[in-house]
Symmetry: C2
Subunit: 322 residues, 2 copies
């Protein structure tokens, strides 16, 4: 049973719509309206040992990542982060570990002007839950359900580095620094999210892998999509791999925390120029279609069948291991 | 090392003050100001197996309690709850358990008009984190730091029932239904909190035991306090116990989720009449003093020394077991 089914089961049983709920469960974050004309975005994510991080994770990396993955959800909404809450469960009271954790968390919070306003600590298996709140302009927004047939699909940065790092660590192989950084220190694309706010028809952050996450956009928008595997952006480490392995990592690897967004084809140049504004490569990797299937094609136009649909935390990793 | 020290250590390392933070970490909840003149209250709490609930807890009770303890924090601020997020970690995907959990959660959410707007699920040892958001009027508020010397200390309901239920369950003794309900189905005192909003000088909800929680109010207000053990409200089950055992449960038992608030002596009658308005007994149990000690006195005026300061989750329970 997948994480998604469990959330759906809870969401069906518990009232989710009500006064002040502009957008409820099912997107990267919820949009609340505490007062007329005012919008607040809120997102939350738990990271658990052996599911979201390895037992030997560095404390500072975990502090960074726990905040980063939540800020990434706000980025996908085009929101400006303001406040954060943290619930930390620790096996013991290791002060040095805690200081390192706080340092990683604090550096990222400071760099985005985010204030810690609540939380608690508890004894138990290592787990951290972070909840972020941010502002959204009175109009406009980046939801999953706004894509239209013919819209181009763009992604930021490179794909698959974090998944390759995880595979190498699991196999006790050496991990290049830039791969380690992709897995341990993802950079939330907040400025880009705010930049595409008035341009994109839909947006999502890549946490479960491009194929699965674009699938969320497609389903929410009532569409299908075609992905062009030859256009998937990859680092030099990825470029050196056999192409099927590379494509599987780029399509199905989790933890990228890049943004994936759709724009009408006539706004292609405008969208790509945002990459220059934010010094962040953007690539057109496909387009939305009528229908309901998300399919992948190789550079020769032949279909490519990925090894897994994506990465689902509750099932354990479905990462390609070849 | 106590939970409180860990939170303090994190709070010192991570920026906590910034634009829009009216009240940061250290009270029952934070007060945020998303826009001028507008105030939002936010609180979060994690419940972990063996720390906050027993392994054989009923799913519906856990669903209720996870939301109730958070709503209790909003009650202590005088806030009106609006939205909630939930992070649920489960050992496996047991649909019947999940449905029961959701039912307990949903019933309480519905009764207070609270909408579930976010969350996630994950595999691991049973744990639930709930984050609530609510409204607060543009002025007024119930913080811990507003008490003045001479103010009366009032509490709602009965004290010690939940702690007695826990002791009996741990000893495999029978538990009367009203004790079980106190432990499993605490009632957040939201209406009372909103009622005392313009009357009380300080307020806190009782989660760690009256002695510890009034200690938080006293410290935050730069005061001491005297508690009158003879005035502590107790159910008939408590009244049947030897008095030292009773007092220890009432002073040091956790999980009461009643409100404790302070009022100027001249507003005593006005405060007590709120109990009638809300059909909830209120008792004057002491008063605030100059100094910094919270002391307990018996009906004869002799000092009473409780067996424990309070109940700290990170140390395990310090509950009196006699």
């Amino acid at each position: 049973m997948a994480e998604f089914d469990l959330i759906g089961r809870l969401a069906r049983a518990i009232p989710g719509q009500g006064p002040g709920v502009e957008l409820g469960i099912g997107d990267d974050a919820a949009i609340l309206s505490p007062a007329p004309g005012q919008r607040l975005v809120v997102a939350t994510d738990t990271l658990n040992e052996n599911i979201h991080f390895l037992p030997d994770v560095h404390a500072a990396d975990l502090g960074h990542k726990a905040l980063a993955v939540n800020l990434s959800d706000l980025a996908a909404m085009g929101a400006e982060p303001r406040w954060v809450l943290m619930n930390l469960t620790l096996p013991g009271a290791d002060e040095a570990w805690l200081d390192d954790f706080a340092e990683g968390f604090a550096a990222l919070a400071l760099s985005h002007g985010v204030s810690l306003v609540g939380g608690d600590t508890c004894q138990g298996p290592l787990s951290v839950t972070v909840t972020v709140l941010g502002n959204l302009p009175a109009s406009g927004g980046l939801q999953r359900d706004g894509a239209r047939a013919g819209d181009l699909v763009l992604v930021s940065g490179n794909l698959g580095d974090a998944a390759l790092a995880l595979n190498r660590r699991r196999a006790d192989k050496p991990v290049e620094p830039h791969l380690a950084a992709a897995m341990d220190r993802p950079v939330p694309r907040l400025e880009l999210g705010q930049g595409v706010l008035r341009l994109a028809s839909a947006c999502i952050d890549l946490s479960d892998g491009l194929l699965a996450d674009l699938g969320h956009v497609a389903r929410a928008s009532g569409l299908g999509a075609v992905l062009d595997t030859g256009a998937l952006p990859g680092s030099t480490a990825l470029q050196g791999l056999p192409r099927n392995q590379r494509w599987n990592l780029q399509l199905c690897g989790g933890d990228d925390y890049e943004l994936c967004f759709t724009v009408p084809p006539e706004r292609r140049d405008e969208a790509l120029s945002l990459g220059e504004t934010h010094s962040l490569p953007l690539a057109v990797v496909g387009h939305m279609t009528e229908g309901e299937d998300v399919v992948c094609k190789g550079p020769d136009g032949a279909p490519f069948q990925p090894r897994a649909l994506g990465w689902e935390h509750f099932r354990g990793t479905g990462l390609p291991d070849d």
